[in-house]
Subunit: 62 residues, 2 copies
């Protein structure tokens, strides 16, 4: 199990918004995500950090 | 081993630019990457896609 989780960084706090992300696609300011369970989430923001070791995808609001 | 590799997408061709990426940080239009061997690479571009299953981080030139 080496999937990363997506977090929204707001006010220095990381809020987990999607577990076990399998796919991330940028579409302008939209970030589309799909996880290994088939759950989908689209959020407006900017992907600012990816840390494989910590399993984190960090998104900041625009 | 579940690290993703970074590819630069140019003219519909994916060119591998860094193996086994551990950390990606966006700094404006710069993308800083560090891999598990400690190699670092900074490239100007836009991260457009991340596919965990394929182990791919896709960057497009700006």
């Amino acid at each position: 199990m080496c999937e990363a989780h997506a977090y929204l960084l707001r006010d220095n706090t990381e809020e987990k918004i999607l577990e076990s992300v399998d796919l991330v696609e940028m579409d302008g300011e939209d970030i589309h995500m799909v996880n290994i369970f088939g759950e989908q989430k689209t959020i407006r923001g900017k992907l600012t950090r990816y840390n494989n070791q910590e399993g984190k995808i960090i998104i900041e609001p625009i």
